[in-house]
């Protein structure tokens, strides 16, 4: 293959792999922001928390971070339930979610980040995995396993959540909350309870995504900020509350970022997601698959 073709093919592959990971990162926001109307800007904080939990267990016991995160996801689920309960009692119930609720999540994001800095410092942490240094090669085309494994697991997670939402009673209740809370109440279902569990699910996916993150790259507490714009960009780009939209949005963003870092340099990559977000908000706020 010619040099430039190989470059493009590699950029496409890297972009798709990255996009799969972004889908896992944004899945939770797609549930909490897209369906439940809870603007959880602290979502990236839980991703970083997931990274550090995976790091600690990997560092002490040498277990695979992704397996660890799946096993420990009930912990994040419980954390999510507790957080939603506080949010509901303090803000949603009083009708103050728009301003004070946002400030609350911003504070949570901040506290988590600073606490992690105080405990672990600002050094980059990484994990050791069996596949971390393995790369499959076919001619000039690379397929690094540290991107491919998270990609596969994250696709499985996204599809699993979508099936769960469309094929179970509880999942349909979540979709119903997104459409009409009053109607749900009239059907005898408590929307607050449904939202609590769905929000907990969103935090659990954040914990798992955190493990993907630390497999893909070294992590330090403040990189969470870069993901705030990213998750909302994916969610808005794909269309609010659509899981398939989130997947497509994430792949588009992954490709855009990969091409930007290949052809303009990696230092421009962080601006891509935010630029895309601003452009989507300005020109098509309902997103690609928006209702």
């Amino acid at each position: 293959m010619e040099g430039s073709t190989a470059l493009v093919v590699n950029a496409i592959i890297a972009g798709l792999l990255l996009g799969g990971f972004y889908a896992a990162v944004s899945l939770g926001i797609s549930i909490s922001f897209g369906m439940l109307d809870v603007v959880n800007i602290a979502h990236p904080a839980f991703i970083i928390l997931g990274s550090y939990v995976a790091y600690i267990v990997n560092d002490r016991f040498g277990l695979d971070p992704i397996v660890v995160s799946l096993v420990l996801s009930p912990l994040f689920f419980a954390l999510g339930m507790a957080l939603y309960r506080v949010y509901y009692i303090c803000f949603e119930k009083r009708g103050q979610e728009s301003l004070r609720g946002l400030a609350f999540f911003f504070g949570i994001l901040f506290i988590t980040e600073v606490t992690l800095v105080l405990i672990f410092g600002v050094d980059y942490r990484m994990v050791s995995t069996a596949y971390g240094d393995v790369t499959w090669r076919a001619g000039d085309v690379d397929l690094p396993m540290r991107l491919f494994v998270p990609f596969v697991v994250s696709l499985a997670m996204v599809i699993g959540v979508q099936l769960f939402l469309t094929h179970t009673f509880f999942g349909r209740a979540v979709l119903a909350v997104a459409q009409d809370q009053l109607a749900l109440r009239l059907m005898g279902v408590n929307p607050v309870r449904v939202k609590e569990l769905a929000f907990a699910l969103s935090i659990a996916t954040a914990g798992v995504a955190g493990a993907f993150l630390i497999v893909i790259q070294p992590v330090q507490p403040s990189i969470g900020r870069e993901y705030i714009g990213l998750v909302f960009a994916v969610c808005v780009l794909g269309g609010m509350g659509s899981i398939w939209g989130t997947l497509i949005g994430a792949l588009v963003l992954g490709l855009a970022e990969s091409f930007t870092s290949t052809f303009f340099g990696p230092s421009w990559a962080p601006a891509v997601s935010f630029g895309l977000l601003l452009a989507t908000l300005a020109f098509r706020p309902s997103g690609l698959l928006g209702r």
């Binding site: 922001f33 603007v39 800007i41 506080v86 303090c90 009083r94 103050q96 728009s98 301003l99 004070r100 946002l102 400030a103 609350f104 911003f106 504070g107 949570i108 901040f110 506290i111 600073v114 606490t115 800095v117 105080l118 403040s222 900020r225 870069e226 705030i228 714009g229 909302f232 960009a233 808005v236 230092s267 421009w268 962080p270 601006a271 997601s273 935010f274 630029g275 977000l277 601003l278 908000l281 300005a282 706020p285």
Partner: protein
């Protein structure tokens, strides 16, 4: 009190305060007071949009940095005099606010909040890649050797400028609050749909208050490069500005101009004290974050909210 007499009182007070504090022999006072005043301006500016209108701006750091970097550009280009830099930074930040508002204020309030966060990362990346203003390495902006008005050091001048800027911010905030514009903004905050139906020009008012708020934030940043003599993207875009300018009005109280002032003086001084006693920046931020969450959950109307309840109880 009418706007004019309030402005007179505010500026007389500012001048007297600035003059009196020149007697303080301790250099550190000026360095510390500069930071607190910076927060007074940021908090007051944030509150014009956040408190009066109910729209959350997470991008305070971005507008602050616009002010700071417009100074760097003018310094590199023609060593422009300080007043020119202040005016230019204020205008550029105001224009940026106008643009952001025009793009996103038609949508739900959340989108404005997210877009403001996005803006700070886009600008950060832009500045990091812009070599003319120093890029990621940062740039030196040296203080002039001669200090005007017979002040002993340049930091004294910067301090006086900051006191006056704080007075400007407070006068503007109070004027907006007491005017018909302020009542329109309050109507938007309480129920935007009802306001729109009653003939309040909601979009125009929102864009106006965003523009004023962002311009004042930019103004706060214009002297910052001189204050440090060296500016780099991570100090100009520090998250501390974003979180402080939200925490301070929320803790002080968002309904009137006095809340952010109280919050900024209180929280700003506490942070300076912690810095001096423990010299740990991270603890500082943890305190601010924890106070923000505590106040927002337990005392949503802030310190002025307490004062109001106490007054009402006494009245009965």
């Amino acid at each position: 009190m009418s706007n004019r007499s309030f402005a007179l009182v505010a500026f007389a007070f500012a001048v007297a305060f600035a003059a009196a504090s020149q007697l303080i022999p301790n250099e550190y006072f000026f360095t510390a007071a500069y930071t607190v005043l910076q927060f007074v301006i940021l908090a007051t500016a944030w509150n014009i949009l956040g408190g009066y209108t109910g729209y959350v701006n997470f991008g305070s750091a971005a507008f602050f940095a616009i002010g700071a970097y417009s100074t760097v550009v003018l310094y590199n280009a023609f060593k422009a005099p300080l007043p020119v830099m202040i005016v230019a930074g204020t205008l550029v930040a105001g224009l940026a606010g106008l643009g952001l508002g025009y793009l996103t204020l038609r949508l739900r309030g959340v989108f404005f909040a997210i877009a403001s966060l996005a803006l700070s990362v886009v600008l950060f990346t832009f500045i990091v890649n812009w070599d003319y203003v120093g890029g990621a390495r940062g740039a030196y902006v040296l203080q002039p050797r001669e200090v005007p008005f017979g002040l002993p050091r340049y930091i004294h001048l910067l301090y006086v400028v900051m006191v006056l800027q704080a007075a400007v911010a407070l006068v503007v905030a109070r004027a907006i609050e007491k005017s018909t514009i302020g009542r329109g903004l309050a109507a938007i905050r309480d129920d935007e749909l009802a306001a729109e139906c009653s003939g309040v020009p909601t979009l125009r008012l929102k864009i106006f208050s965003t523009m004023v708020s962002c311009a004042l934030m930019g103004m706060a940043g214009t002297t910052f490069p001189y204050y440090l003599s060296f500016i780099e993207p991570s100090s100009a875009f520090s998250l501390s500005y974003a979180v402080n300018s939200i925490a301070m009005p929320l803790i002080g109280g968002m309904m009137s101009w006095i809340g952010p002032l109280i919050g900024a003086i209180l929280l700003g001084s506490v942070q300076q004290l912690v810095q001096v006693m423990f010299s740990l920046g991270a603890w500082n931020l943890l305190i601010v974050g924890a106070l923000l969450v505590l106040f927002v959950t337990l005392a949503p109307n802030g310190i002025m909210g307490w004062v109001e309840t106490w007054r009402r109880r006494k009245g009965h």
